[in-house]
Structures are given as C-alpha cells and as structure tokens.
Amino acid sequence: MSASDRSMAEETTLTSAAYEVADAFEANELFQRNGWTDGLPIVPPTADNVRAFLDCAALGPDEVIGVEPVRRRRITAEKVAIAAVMAGCLPQYLPVVVAIIRAMCEPQFGLHGSTASTGGAAPFIVVNGPVRTALAMNATHNVLANGGRANAAIGRSVRLFVINVLGGVPGHLDRSTLGHPGKFTFCIAEDEEDSPWIPLSVERGLPAGTSAVTVMAAESPHQIMNEWTHDPKEILDTYAAAMRANMLTYSIWEGNYAIVIPKQHRQIFAAAQWSKQDIRDYVYEVACVARREWRSVGKAAVAARKDEDRIHHALRTPDDLLVIGAGGPAGGFGAIVPPWYGKKSLAVTTQIRM
C-alpha cells in the first residue's frame, strides 16, 4: 500500500456503529422500527456507499460541516453522507446537501427554533448555477412537487439529517402541530435558461456562474392563479393578496417571502421590462395590512393590544422578497412561500463547493 493509499484509507475510516442485516428489505425495516427515517423506505447506508459519497465530495468523514448553534452539535460529513445515501441521492449530489446544511447552521437561519417550533416549518431550498444542469435538476413542470430525482433526494436528505443528526423527531424535538408536506422534501432549481432575469443567488451577492443554494425556513407554498391580464401590477396584486392573507390568517410579522413565478407570468414581466428589483419594489408597497384587519379574521382579541392603525408590511425591505423563476411553460399559476415566523429566521445563500 502506497503512502497516498494509506492516507486515503485513513481519511475514509468511518466511526458510525454498524448493524448486520439480512438484506436491503431488512435494513429498511430496521430503520423504520428505530424511527430513523421519515416513514418512506431508505437506501441502506453501507460503509462502501458512504465512502463513495465522501470521496466524490472530497470530504473526510470527521470533517465538521457545521455546528448547530444552540445545542452545539458538531455535524460531521459522515453523518451527512449517511443521510444523503438513505434519501436516494447519487454521490455527486452530496456537495449540494453539504452546502444546504452549512447554510442552515448560520445563526440567522435559526436552525433550532425553526426545527422545534409548533409552527411546523421546512427548509425551502433553491438551487442556482451550473450544478442544476449537471445534476439534471427540475426547474419546470411540477417544480414544487415530484419532477426530478435530484430535487426529491436532495430535499429529503435534509429531513433525514434533521431527524437523525439533530434529533428533530416529531413529538420529541420537533414539536410541530401540523407541519406540511414540504417537510418530506422541498427543493427546486431556478429556470435560469428560460428567464429574463438574473439568478436569485446573483441577486443575493454571489458571482454569476457560481453554483449556490438559498435556504429559507418556510411554511407550505400557497398557489395563486391569474391568467386574465397582461398588466404586471395586476399579476403582482394576486401574489400580494396571498401574502396579505397569510399575514392575517397565519403570521403578521415581516420577514422573507419567496414567490415562484412561472414562464407565462415571466413573459408578461419581460414584455413590460420589469426586473426582479421592480417586482420587489412593487410587492413591498402593496403587501401590507392594517393591524385592525385582524378583526376580520377572528383575531379581534389581539388586534386591540397595540395600535390598530399600524400598517404591517410583509417585508422589512424590498430585498426580503426572494423572486424565483420556475414552473412549467404553460399556465398562469405561481406561488408564494411564506416565512416560518417573521424575521426569526432569515434566508441564507451560500456557494456549493464542488
């Protein structure tokens, strides 16, 4: 064995306990019995495939990906790779999963609070840059649902990581009252090739051509539809109405919202020469409610606690709005993705280290 071979062997020495099972079926049954999965079947994480994932990402098993800021848990690459294998990833997906977890460990993301809260949030993940096409990620038809292996498996890796590494087990650390389907997987790519706009990650400060993830603690997406106008303001009035409804029926507090804009709407903005910044500026102005409007949705008991004339904006500034071009080529269907709890968690954008 050469020195470099010995070095590689040492780097890939895994420390996780191993359990012997008859086959892949029994492996899944073991994980199901122990509550180590989300209820769906897993791919068995063997030493060989975990090593292959780590090698693909050039990570040592004990490399610390991040530290959970509240409970100070040091998250190792080995445990992240195990989650990715279980979720059905290919080895080349691992750098994306690692970037997502690095982003979630940034203090402004509020990982502990958003994981444990009764509010039941899920990390909403947007992927930008060349990695989208390299991994054949879906940015078009059915983008918020099933439509591509990479989207599904990368998003699911995060849930399995939360369950097994953070202890985010429902009824234990995860105190969600309802949760939402995005807690299984909630990962999209932006349709950069068929969009008039600059990518989300570039707007948020990364160089063009960089592969990146943006992660936001989010409630379930709410779909809107407007196929009856070519006026960009009227289109955005529909999105803003859904945001106002969320402010009244869920949480009035300002923070990051995301809006997912399909091609049919993007064409209207392109014809009117509206940039993402124009969209943000307009939505900031119109997505607001007066505190007294709480009275109209059954919340009179809290409306009067403070000044009822106060105007609450959905966003602290226009920059709080994440504008994402994605969705199938036909249909005037867009979506808003609301924040977990105002500004208690803020979106984080970070580069993917390939």
């Binding site: 191993a18 099972v21 086959d23 068995p44 097994n164």
Partner: protein
C-alpha cells in the same frame, strides 16, 4: 450474504450531565423563573409565584425574560439568576 448498515444518528459529545440533588424544602428559598418570551408565560408565572410563596414559603423570586423565544438564554441572564436555589425554565407555548 448479509449487509452492514451504518447508524445515522449523531451521538452526544462530552460527559453525561448529572442532575443536581433536589431541594428538601422550598421554605426560605430563592427561585428563579425564566420567562421564554411567549405571550402567556408572564401571567402563568404570576400564578406560580403566588402559589410557591403562599403554600411553600419561597422567600424570593428572580424573574427574567429571554429577549427572544426562538433563541437560547444569554450568559448574562443566566449569571443574573445564578444565586437562586432552583430555576424554573419555561418551554413551549
């Protein structure tokens, strides 16, 4: 041919914590009440402190409120409560 699968969980680090010995009596004690900044906690602690003082002889309370329900208590607040014989920490809603 069998299969060996890896444990996906992250083990706890460091030495196990041991709980402090329980107080034999609350009579004459100082109790810290840490408010988690949820909307009903202050009112709840009003009742708790009334009962502890009236029925159990607690001498004094140190009441502090976290600045943010979603973040951990700050070291400064913990230091302010360090002289208490016991601490009650609010969790959840």
């Amino acid at each position: 041919m069998t299969l060996k699968v890896l444990d996906p969980r992250l083990g706890a680090e460091g030495a196990a914590l041991r709980p402090a010995p329980p107080l034999t009596s609350l009579d004459g004690t100082v109790i810290a009440l840490l408010d988690n900044a949820k909307i009903g906690t202050g009112r709840f602690y009003d009742f708790v402190s009334e009962i502890l003082e009236r029925d159990h002889g607690v001498r004094e309370f140190i009441r502090r409120r976290k600045p943010d329900a979603t973040r951990p208590v700050t070291p400064e607040l913990l230091a302010e409560m360090s002289g208490a014989d016991a601490l009650v920490s609010a969790i959840g809603d």
